[in-house]
Assembly symmetry: D5
Homo-oligomer: 116 residues x 10
């Protein structure tokens, strides 16, 4: 997990189920196999419980992947894991929508639903 | 809540469940953290019960946010609360679709369903 | 209700539930408050029972709104009422999709389901 | 029914339910009322049982409507009837999406579900 | 089945149901009837169980169809069969979206759901 | 010429050649042959000399065509003539972009250049 | 040349050079080689001199190609020739924009400029 | 002229004519006639001479129009004047592209060319 | 040069300069460096002199590149050379618009103008 | 200038002026003021003289900007300078099309024309 902590702020309407969708089209990491940069868009949608994600800290969190080697499947699942750990949301979906490589485009979608 | 009252008029077909969807692409408020203006589109959809929202008063109501400092999550929930208080609709959804900040785009969606 | 009768013709396949969707992008009426013209698109979708709507008479029916003062909510519901009275369809939806006024766009959607 | 027989070939995977969707944007027939040409797109989607439609024979079948007078509702239902008779599919939808006439656009959608 | 083996790598999050969607817009094979090339896009979406598909080997696998004569219905089903055999996914959909021939466009969609 | 006068206001920068482009997508008149309504968009672009067109009076001027019978070629040229008479611009273009009639779409473009 | 005469009406503003652009997306003829129907869009733009083309007669003129065998290059040039003969315009362009055949799309553009 | 100074930085390649185009879609001011907010996009393109505009100061400069009453024609020309005064560019174009009011959309385009 | 001869037919209007534009979106060849397939669209536009290209022979000509190793710059220039040799056109442009490789997209445009 | 040399290969048709256009949508560098990443698309178009740019070396050249602090105006001009030095083209344009920052989007366009 990146070193920059994901900051949160208290949900202003915890008594209501509502959705926050965040699109981050400027994501880049490094392919662990070739060492070449990967580009993509990370899309996050969640129903907050007690906490909402602070957008600036989310930005810094995503920038930390800039020079890390990590596969598409792993990065999408890790972002979901890290955000779930920081926010304890009621529900969350993370989509990693990556650009074309070798004529092939990949989109990874992972979901979390709280037990409660 | 803004000082301009939200005016309503009687629902011309209260015996039928039908939907009114209103898009307001010219919304602007102020970020309470930076003092800089935020821009976005407010989308409202509801099934009226006894009252429908008068569009001109809705416009003036939304203009009152122009110089107020308020976060995305709060503004979307407050518009829903104010409209529910004024209209007592059968169902209502409010979407706040805000423009890119720091390379990140946010959309907040809140829903209300009457108990009856 | 307009004076032009809505003509129908016998449904050529009454034994099958199938849908007819009709888009009329050239609708105009008059705002009863300001006296200024309103513009919009009327979209009709229905499952016919014994009768189908004759398109030319539908066109003349819609033209009769050209110089009438009527609100968005009323015009959408009235078109549904008039078409239901003329066709007795199994199901019908009428959408009134009106152009921007004061920076605000409105879409009204009304549905009918036969009791049978 | 047109004189050109609709040819079929054996379904290569009858043990699996899968869908074949075919779009024919170059459809034209004649309006029986005015004698003027009508234009449209025929869209077919089906789950084959034992037989699949041979595309070239489908093309010739549709060309036979070129100089026939037939209404939108009838042509869509007849294509569905003819294809169901020839293919005996598990499920089939035929959409007739016709171009604007008198400022009005019509789309007819008919579905078939096998009893089995 | 092509000679190039479909390589896989271990699913990094087997304890979670998540989806991987892969679009391959550069697919080409040969029409067995005319000997002329066919072009299309293959879209694959699956929930991995123990294994994920390695993208480079998928690319080489698809290239092997380049000079093979095979019909649309067969190629879509065979890609699904080969991928299911190699990956044993929880669920998988393969779409073959082929370009216009004789004014007609065809899309074939096949799905697999594991018994478990 | 319509009875509503076209109002103008003094050009705030007469010493500079600059362009004002105005799109009016809600234009409607009546076909003098059939008596049926025509719909279209009027697009005006001009370099003002001493006067600029006041938008509200332009709106009322265009509304006066609502129930007048006039052909596409005439309406476009007349709007150009009326605006040139009222504004005496350095240059002006008027485009009448009319909706489909009988499967045919018409756009008329007329230009004026001052002698000076 | 088709038997239906191309009717004209007097240019309402012969003292001004202005352009009339007409799009006819519903054109169909027959391939003289295969006997199969061709589809396309005919786009006409001209500066009228004394005469403008009457749209209904243009429509009937174009319908006459419906069952005639003629190549893309010839049909575009012939429409230009026929319209120039009927209208004696100052300038005219005819574009024949035909749909895909064998994976190949063709657009033919022919221009006429009067000697005067 | 607004109180916030427009800051500049030295052109890194003054020996070459090159263009900088800047789009500011989040512009808002107030209509001096109605007191209601106007919205639009300001587009600036220029060839720098000795100085380039610093983007953050441009942003603050444009924000100063937020609560000022000013017409479309004036605001576009004033932004051009202010930027020309601050930058002394070789060439500059400013476009004010404003949103729909009363069913009418306005775009104002002003250009500057240095005498040298 | 491929072995399939490019067939031509006599220009039906040699006395007029007119343009024929042909788009071939289904082009594929092989990268001589990697042995992997390349995909792209070939766009041809020309003013015929005595001869026009026969579309079916053009299609077969382009198919011959399917398994040949050739770079983007060479293939575009060679198609121009071969077509000029076969047609002796008055003017011709060939565009090779190739799909993304390594995150980079390439378009090559070559032109020919006859000396006469 | 980056350390990776820009490799070239001999122009296969030096006797003809033709254009090569290359789009690189996956460009990223670092803002020297804030230390935050910038994203953009670099578009290059040139007429080669003796040499063409080798695409893989161009890719590596552009990757070297990934962790360098450089302004939009400088990066666009430097890429033009480096490519002109390596290729000695007849003409070249470089466009740097950068993503939104602070609600403002910037595009820088620089051109080179050889003296010869």
């Amino acid at each position: 997990m990146p070193d920059t902590p994901l900051e949160t702020f208290p949900n202003p309407r915890p008594e209501r189920d509502y959705e926050i969708a965040i699109d981050c089209p400027e994501f880049t990491s490094v392919c662990p196999k070739t060492g070449l940069p990967d580009f993509g868009e990370i899309r996050i949608a969640y129903v907050p419980d007690r906490a909402c994600i602070e957008l600036k800290s989310l930005k810094y969190y995503l920038i930390e992947f800039r020079n890390r080697g990590i596969f598409y499947e792993s990065v999408t699942n890790q972002i979901l894991d890290d955000l779930v750990a920081a926010l304890r949301p009621r529900r969350m979906t993370v989509v990693g929508d990556f650009s074309v490589r070798g004529g092939i485009k990949t989109v990874v979608t992972a979901r979390y639903e709280s037990a409660g």
